[in-house]
């Protein structure tokens, strides 16, 4: 095993699935995994030594002596559930160097494969032209063709290929995508679950737990788990109250344009809504310009 791995125990698991996340927009994946870890009371069993991957983020000096240096944590947890054994990986930060990210992702896979992992899920954000009062959907992206049909059956979920104008193309940036690419290279099936976040929220460093909930609904269905997600509802309400406060500071004409996103559809199969593709582009352009200007003022 790689020397950057520290094991606290070696769990015996039966064909576990791995669910992994690193921080990203709206912290959607991390919130989803942290909620799942807490709800399942998953146990810590390993972590990746951080110093080769990260610059330290905090220092403590006591009475003139270096007491500690703290780094982002990258930890593995496990849980034997009645239905499915689970591995969870929660990354505190994505390494800023591409090769370090590649190395870390390989380490995560190495641990999972050594424990007999059968499938990988990652959780992240999908920036979408939606309104914050709507229930976010989940964009699913499997790493092999055989999973496409299965993915289409998930609730409240759309495939990248079903999004208007994308033609099945897209990019999943960062390690949440890379892990599935490397899993594919090792013939390990995997699916990336991306919770929708409104485009105008995605530019701010605010969490978006509503999307984390959407991801967890899909994930727990798949894993056959029953998990109480009410804590996410509370977090989502709090965030929404803050968004609403901010929302009412936006000039009315911009707010009206954003409100039109309540009726926007970008799914191919759905009947055309009241808003045309041209309207949608115009709305997004205006909204983006407003926030760019505001960003400069701030």
């Amino acid at each position: 095993m790689n020397e950057s791995l520290i094991f606290y125990q070696e769990p015996k698991l039966e064909k576990p699935d791995l669910v992994a996340a690193w921080p990203g927009i709206g912290n959607i994946g991390i919130i989803a995994l942290s909620t799942l870890r807490e709800a399942l009371e998953a146990e810590l069993f390993a972590e990746i030594e951080p110093w080769r991957f990260f610059y330290p983020h905090a220092l403590s000096i006591k009475d003139g002596e270096l007491e500690s240096l703290r780094f982002p944590e990258s930890k593995f947890y496990f849980k034997r559930t009645g239905t499915k054994d689970l591995l969870l990986f929660i990354g505190g930060e994505q390494p800023s160097e591409v090769m370090k990210g590649y190395e870390m992702t390989n380490l995560v896979l190495e641990v999972a494969l050594n424990l007999g992992c059968q499938r990988v899920y990652t959780a992240a954000a999908a920036v979408a032209p939606i309104h914050h009062t709507l229930r976010p959907r989940v964009w699913a992206v499997p790493n092999r063709q055989e999973l496409v049909a299965e993915t289409r059956r998930y609730r409240n979920t759309i495939l990248m290929g079903d999004i208007e104008g994308r033609g099945g193309q897209g990019t999943i940036t960062g390690l949440n995508g890379l892990l599935l690419g490397l899993a594919k290279a090792r013939d390990l099936p995997g699916i990336c679950l991306l919770g929708e976040i409104p485009v105008y929220i995605s530019q701010f460093p605010v969490p978006y737990p509503k999307a984390s909930k959407s991801i967890l609904e899909v994930l727990t269905d798949n894993l056959g788990l029953t998990v109480d997600l009410s804590s996410l509802d509370e977090q989502a309400q709090e965030v929404e109250r803050n968004i609403e406060r901010f929302y009412h500071l936006i000039p009315e004409e911009i707010r009206e344009r954003i409100d039109q996103l309540k009726h926007v559809s970008y799914i191919k199969e759905e009947k055309p809504g009241a808003i045309t593709e041209e309207d949608k582009k115009k709305i997004m352009q205006e909204v983006e310009e407003f926030f760019k200007k505001r960003g400069k003022q701030d």
């Binding site: 110093w51 610059y55 220092l59 000096i61 003139g64 002596e65 160097e97």
Partner: protein
């Protein structure tokens, strides 16, 4: 010459039980580079190793400073006479841990270093006429007593504030602690209005600590002249500019300046001293 992953060695200094002094090129008041330049000039050590920049620095282009192209450098010097090792370097932009490990690999495995000091400036809301305090952060308690004997403050308490991150020197201190190499970060106060300029009084203060600790036999006459010259120039400015006089007097009396007053003072001192140079 031997060449390893990330470095080249082109000399074999004969050292007994050397200490290492580390200075980074980018530092408040130019403290790190000025102190290292001074030691290199005065002690005439032999340059014997350097790091290859690839892998540690972004080589996507080169920065230009004061109309001149810059290129990252990381060099080791050794003074056999003083049994001293110096490392002068730009701070790496990537693979920081490997970079710091390599410094210690060369220092410990090739030169048998068991003790090291890093040099760094910290901005202080003080007047330039006040004595500069040097504070040490150690990675082994055994260094506290000897340093305190040279007037170094050894009781610093600190937590990284939100949004800030530890310095490279702190990271090096931590890496060395894990390898059981004793070291100290020496932080020297620099008045905020000299932070972007030079502060010979701070250079002298930290050099005096190193001189006593490592028996370097430094002649401080040159630095004393620089201090005197800077004091004279600022005194001249105080006579010309009433607000500069007032603000420095306030600092001398321990009265805090407002943000605006601090900015005016820093700008006027910078403009005046740069013109004189």
């Amino acid at each position: 010459m031997s060449e390893g992953h990330g470095f080249k060695i082109y000399g074999t200094p004969r050292l007994q039980n050397p200490c290492l002094i580390v200075g980074w090129s980018q530092d408040v008041g130019g403290l790190g580079p000025k102190v290292l330049d001074f030691l290199i000039r005065k002690l005439q050590p032999q340059e014997f190793a350097q790091f290859n920049p690839a892998g540690f620095f972004s080589l996507a282009g080169v920065p230009v400073e004061d109309n001149v192209i810059q290129f990252p450098q990381s060099k080791f010097y050794a003074s056999e006479e003083k049994d001293l090792l110096l490392f002068q370097s730009d701070g790496p932009s990537q693979t920081h841990y490997e970079f710091l490990m390599l410094i210690l690999d060369i220092a410990e495995q090739i030169c048998k270093v068991k003790e090291f000091y890093t040099i760094g400036g910290i901005i202080s809301l003080m007047a330039h006429t006040s004595p500069r305090r040097v504070s040490a952060v150690v990675n082994q308690p055994l260094l506290k007593k000897p340093l305190s004997e040279y007037g170094v403050s050894i009781n610093l308490e600190y937590q990284t504030p939100l949004g800030a991150r530890p310095t490279l020197s702190s990271f090096l201190l931590w890496v060395a602690q894990r390898r059981n190499i004793a070291g100290a970060n020496l932080w020297t106060e620099i008045p905020f209005y000299l932070a972007a300029l030079e502060d010979p009084r701070a250079y002298k203060q930290v050099l005096s600590v190193l001189d006593q600790r490592l028996n370097l036999g430094i002649d401080f006459a040159e630095l004393e002249q620089e201090i005197e010259k800077q004091n004279r120039q600022i005194a001249e400015l105080k006579e010309q500019e009433g607000d500069v006089h007032r603000y420095i007097t306030m600092l001398e009396r321990g009265i805090m300046l407002s943000e605006k007053e601090s900015e005016v003072l820093a700008n006027k001192v910078a403009e005046f001293l740069q013109k004189r140079d």
